[in-house]
Amino acid sequence: MLNRARAITVSERVSRVTQSPDRRRKVQRLRDDLRNGREFAEALEFLGGEAALGAVSITELAQIPFRGPPFSEGRYSAGTAYGVLYTARRYRTANKEVAYWQRQFYNPSPGVTYRIRLQLISWLVRGAAKDVRRFLNEFPWLIDDDHTQCWALGAQARANGLVCLIAPSARDRPRGTTVPVFVSGAVSQGGYDGEVTFFIPAAGPVRFRTKFT
């Protein structure tokens, strides 16, 4: 299929909903908790210093999925050989993709709704890509929950030197487009676009609200 797909060169902004591991925020949390005294310094040293408290920039945040092995398992990687930065063309698709997976992580008691806060981040992705969206009818496994064939597609795309695919979204049908990125250096100009709150009730659909900055 990849051989039949149209080769393109992309230069566009893509979105991802994630928790920004902002080191400054974590240091500030520690300072708020312990105040800026001897105990704060001791705790920071104990935890491994500021560098141990996570990424400091959105650019660094984009590198995290490529650190491994092991990598995170996802639609286009089994997690054993390489990592993938999962992004989407539109923020709403990114929201829907994340919302779909939230239910398995939470099991609130009846009457309780958890509110979960994540950040909406975007980057500029540039480089060689292939658009596989038009093959969905022929290869419905592109949006199947069994990722086996998508793993093979991802491995082939990466071996062919593609920085990303333009692919159909399984969770934002029929128009949603995902952009799985295979090369860490292909994204730049990271930006913080807003905050997404997911509402997870004991039963029923997961809803979300986006607040742009």
């Binding site: 928790q19 105990e39 310094a41 398995q104 806060r117």
Partner: protein, 146 residues
């Protein structure tokens, strides 16, 4: 009068004896930064003394008040130090995830199908450090979607 035990930091699990009000005043230890982190975790997760003792691999829950009040040394360069670092990483991520702070402690006690119907807290209590690392991976990679 029995010899007064010395109060030291970072040298082992030593409980300062408190035999008299005067001794209490003189021997009151200092709550160090790492112990403050343990206090934060215990508060956020609403841990009982028994749960905290188990998570930190102390043989008895009766040691926990002494630890939290600074009367017992917390040795940082030990297996216990690693446990606290992992637990604080979990707490730090969860504290950013949950809009309502009280939900963090609730979530720790919810049974999750992806944890074979165990709660994250039960997994940490039962499987110790591997369980803690499993919860850390769940929280950081999957829930926080990093």
């Amino acid at each position: 009068m029995p010899p007064r035990p010395a109060f030291r930091q970072g040298l082992g699990d030593q409980v300062v004896s408190l035999r008299a009000p005067l001794a209490r005043a003189m021997l009151q230890g200092r709550v160090t930064g790492p112990v403050r982190l343990i206090q934060q975790i215990a508060r956020a997760w609403s841990l009982t003394n028994s749960e905290l003792a188990n998570l930190l691999a102390y043989p008895s829950e009766t040691l926990v008040p002494a630890l939290l009040q600074g009367r017992m040394t917390f040795a940082t360069e030990t297996d216990r130090g690693d446990r606290v670092r992992i637990m604080y990483a979990i707490h730090s991520t969860l504290a950013d995830l949950f809009v309502d702070a009280s939900d963090e402690g609730r979530w720790l006690r919810d049974r999750l199908a992806i944890l074979e119907n165990m709660s994250p807290l039960a997994l940490m209590l039962q499987k110790r450090i591997p369980g803690m690392l499993g919860v850390q991976d769940l929280v950081e990679r999957r829930m926080a979607n990093r």
